[in-house]
Subunit: 311 residues, 2 copies
């Protein structure tokens, strides 16, 4: 199948306890594509500026990702974000955001993109996400991300998009904020009633949850000695998860498939944070991914041998 | 085997979004005993005041817990704590702490307590924890809890205790603070070198990790629609975990046993937070516990079917 991602392509300036970089290729669509491209054919939709060079396009095209729908605005500059992380990398501060070409972005999908069986609506204005959905002809599965800013400023439109997707992927804090429910589990159950077949709660360094009408799945994060740059971890996770769904057929979203998709998302995200920007993801190999999925399996399995009741 | 817990017995005044209570039986030793008593014979060591009534003793003695080592100080009052939780129950503020009889507490174990095969050193001053260890004759397994206050004010003594126990149970933030390592995994690995055979990282609503020299295990928390009062969740978790180790023989702390112990700790903690104080734990049944351990198994298992490498 083909996975189309619509979202930001950016240059990031990042400072973490392990160093700083002034110009990293980033953005949700970039991180998503670098992960999903291990699993299926990816197509990126988004705008870049005249400062976006051939070497940046080359990274986006890693593992065959199609960039025909990346529109280069000749008199504009690429979206720019600057941020700094605290010592344990769980807190971050945004120091600068320049929307640049993203300010006037209106998605216009090519004929090929409209045919995509699987679509990932990365975090952009909910109205634009709806415009993308209107253009898709017959997607078998649509996944959605968003952020606190849209929950605060454009809640109704966001809920309308939520009602039209198959898989909602948000941070646990965003799920709480969107529903006003302190329990992430309750929040997810409520959102399932709006339409999605699965709600995924990202929990950062702790892992992720997948909740469906009939099933609950929790997976801890992959343990790392050193997190160099967490930027893009969530989109990389989504890339692994949605990429796996696409590769598996993605029509049913069975419990088994969702669980394995979570494992690929988790493994891929663990690599992304080991380097600045796209460094680690560009050099990553399939065998390394399989090894970490295998490790995650070892790290989480246990036998239940009833003991208390027999007391 | 017999599990002896040395720690606080308290009255708590608690306010959460679901209500407030002025006088709840609480304290680390109480919460620990109510959980561990499902799995093995428990003995409590700690001081109470003249305000500690027969009905409080009756709760402590639930499921046969021995209170011969609970010393009642006739001219003193029981340790008192008052706290209030935020709307999502992840933040809490201590409004009042009155040490009362706990201020002068020096543990003196009875002959029977000294014979205990398994010991849980709940969160008290590290020097007192060492005094307990000096009195124990031949424990097969000792588990330890502590808190940020002792890490800040009595770090050397705490590290000495860490070096003499088999199982260290701390919050992830405490592991970071104790070692100065931003990675919980790295922190745990460093602490293993001091002596413990297993380091457990409690992650609150997210779950818990168990790290040994040769193994890593992560278990998400049990999903709950409603958390009424999180007070004592960590000690209840420790009670299930250490109780299971005792029940299993506790000599080897094999990977399989540790994983199952984590599941019992997680299941028991999930019940504790469903009611104020000891409400839920007093009425709990073994069958309910087994059901949640069974659920945790269902919530966490997945098949790894290599896919990327075959691409």
């Amino acid at each position: 199948m083909t996975v189309t991602v619509v979202g930001s392509i950016a240059f990031d300036a990042v400072k973490t306890p392990f160093g700083e970089r002034e110009r990293l290729l980033g953005g949700a669509a970039t991180h998503f594509a670098l992960a999903a491209s291990f699993l299926d054919q990816v197509r990126v939709v988004g705008p870049v500026g005249c400062d976006f060079g051939p070497e940046d396009f080359a990274v986006l095209r890693t593992r065959g990702t199609n960039t025909d729908d990346v529109r280069q605005v000749i008199d504009g500059k690429t979206f720019f974000w600057r941020g700094e992380y605290g010592w344990d990398l769980n807190s971050r501060e945004t120091l600068d955001t320049q929307l640049n070409v993203f300010a006037d972005f209106r998605p216009e999908l090519s004929a090929a993109a409209r045919e995509s069986e699987v679509v990932f609506l990365a975090n952009i204005q909910p109205g634009l996400q709806l415009e993308v959905l209107e253009q898709c002809l017959r997607p078998r599965a649509v996944a959605l991300d968003s952020m606190n800013f849209w929950i605060e400023t454009d809640r109704e439109a966001l809920l309308e998009v939520v009602g039209r997707v198959d898989c909602l992927i948000l941070n646990d804090a965003e799920l709480r904020q969107l529903t006003g429910r302190p329990s992430v589990y309750t929040a997810a159950r409520e959102l399932l009633e709006l339409g999605p077949r699965v709600v995924v709660a990202k929990q950062g360094e702790y892992g992720a949850l997948a909740i469906t009408e009939s099933s609950y799945f929790g997976l801890p994060a992959y343990p790392l000695e050193r997190v160099v740059d967490p930027t893009g971890a969530g989109d990389t996770f989504a890339g692994g998860l949605v990429g796996y769904l696409a590769r598996s057929g993605a029509t049913e979203l069975s419990d088994d498939v969702v669980r394995r998709a979570m494992a690929y998302g988790t493994a891929l995200a663990s690599f992304n944070v080991e380097g600045f920007g796209t460094e680690r993801m560009v050099e990553l190999t399939p065998a390394e991914i399989e090894q970490r999925v295998h490790d995650l399996h070892r790290f989480t399995q246990f036998e239940h041998d009833p003991m208390v009741a027999a007391a």
